[in-house]
Symmetry: C2
Subunit: 260 residues, 2 copies
């Protein structure tokens, strides 16, 4: 926790004093090992960042005098469309991409997404909020990302995707090569050496500074050819980091860093 | 498992047949859902990649006829010096950086590394081998990285670091800003707004194509000023992805992707 995020219910008496309970109180005392008079970085959820000086500690609560004086770090101007990952991966990924400054995350269905993933508790509003909060605290940010769930691929692509790209560039990538032996064990042609990249992938990649962008990242088994066709028709350009299939938690920071 | 890595003890009878037990047999049957006659991507640890056709399955073993015909993917020409992370993070990080193609990983001590981390079972040779194996299987690679443990910072920097950089460029980064409130809660000057990057950091960054490089990444609390001074004196250039402190598992793919 590089910054303590202050929620609406934390404020007491005035605009300058907060009372922390539970996880944040314990963290300040046990991890920061802070005591009366110490100053810690704080930020108001959705607002400014600054410092809080500890003015009271008791067995259930900790109080700070707060002064907020600076803007949070600038957002990363990338909207992320992500094929819904396995639930244990989703939590880590939300922390990671939130810490990198992504402010719009669309979790999308795809052929390679198992139906059961959509039943997961990790998709409950509180769970998503909690993971994003951890990402904000990590990066000293206060601006909660918007996380949208889109359980139907085609309506999203047909009705929403173009609006999201408008004025920027769109890119599509996938953690894995387009076809893995897992999905087509018997049909792998002998003429395709394992180290050859799939013919469809392009080595081109945006430079370090691009304007607002949208990045669509597929499931670990890849987008299927229909999905890829739809995304390309919608104007997304295919990009790749190379021939190595990567885990989604690895490829996301790797791709997003190209937009910082 | 995008590729099944074949170890020395797997080979039977000839150079063309392997017998798999345990984890890999179960994975082929339960995850790949492959059966007799199916072909799967395989690679010989340290050698070529190709395909294995399943020719025998019984209750304890699975046998494949193997043909190896291509080189594994090219390595990433980056040596990684990493302040030893917390044990649960270390495993994920080894998978991630191995999957990205790093072939030399030096786990280094630093002021911000807790002594207990060095006692962890995650540092046992078998544990490290296993995590790296998962990274290779993920990326369809066969070339095991070299993982070196350096429990003393100064001897490494004085005796080994320059030799590792020779002929290439060296860079130093850290997941967090140099000073966090956790380590200096009472001394945070009121005149430093939280969103200002630490004065020492440089925004410069290598372009997309660089020659052999060495990247040194500090602990989550940052390198201390003595360590940073030593690393800079040894010729490492400071780089940063911006003002956001990131987790080590996030910043590593983000930084390494700049070298692909």
């Amino acid at each position: 926790m590089n910054l303590i995020l202050l929620l609406e219910e934390d404020w007491i008496e005035s605009d300058h004093r907060v009372r922390l309970l539970g996880r944040r109180r314990r963290h300040v005392l046990n991890v920061h090992r802070a005591g009366l008079g110490d100053e810690l970085r704080v930020g108001r959820l959705g607002g400014a960042v600054g410092y809080g000086r500890i003015v009271h500690i008791d067995e259930s609560a900790l109080e700070m005098e707060v002064r907020l004086e600076a803007d949070p770090p600038p957002p990363l101007a990338v909207s992320l469309v992500l094929a819904l990952p396995r639930p244990p991966v989703l939590g880590r990924v939300l922390i990671s991409v939130t810490s990198m400054g992504v402010k719009r995350i669309i979790l999308l269905n795809a052929g390679g997404v198992e139906k059961s993933f959509w039943q997961s508790r990790a998709l409950a509003e509180e769970s998503i909020f909690e993971q994003c909060l951890l990402g904000l605290e990590q990066a000293r940010d206060t601006q909660m990302p918007q996380v949208l769930l889109r359980k139907r691929f085609m309506p999203f692509v047909e009705d929403e995707l173009k609006g999201l790209i408008a004025g920027g560039q769109g890119f599509v990538a996938e953690p894995a090569a387009a076809s893995t032996p897992a999905s087509t064990p018997a049909s792998t042609p002998a003429s395709t050496p394992a180290s050859t990249p799939t013919g469809l992938r392009t080595p081109s990649f945006p430079g370090q500074k691009v304007g607002p962008a949208l990045l669509a990242v597929g499931p670990e088994s890849g987008w299927n050819s229909h999905e890829l066709g739809c995304l390309e028709s919608a104007g997304l350009e295919r990009i790749s980091l190379g021939v190595r299939p990567l885990r989604v938690e690895t490829i996301l920071p790797a791709l997003l860093s190209r937009f910082t």
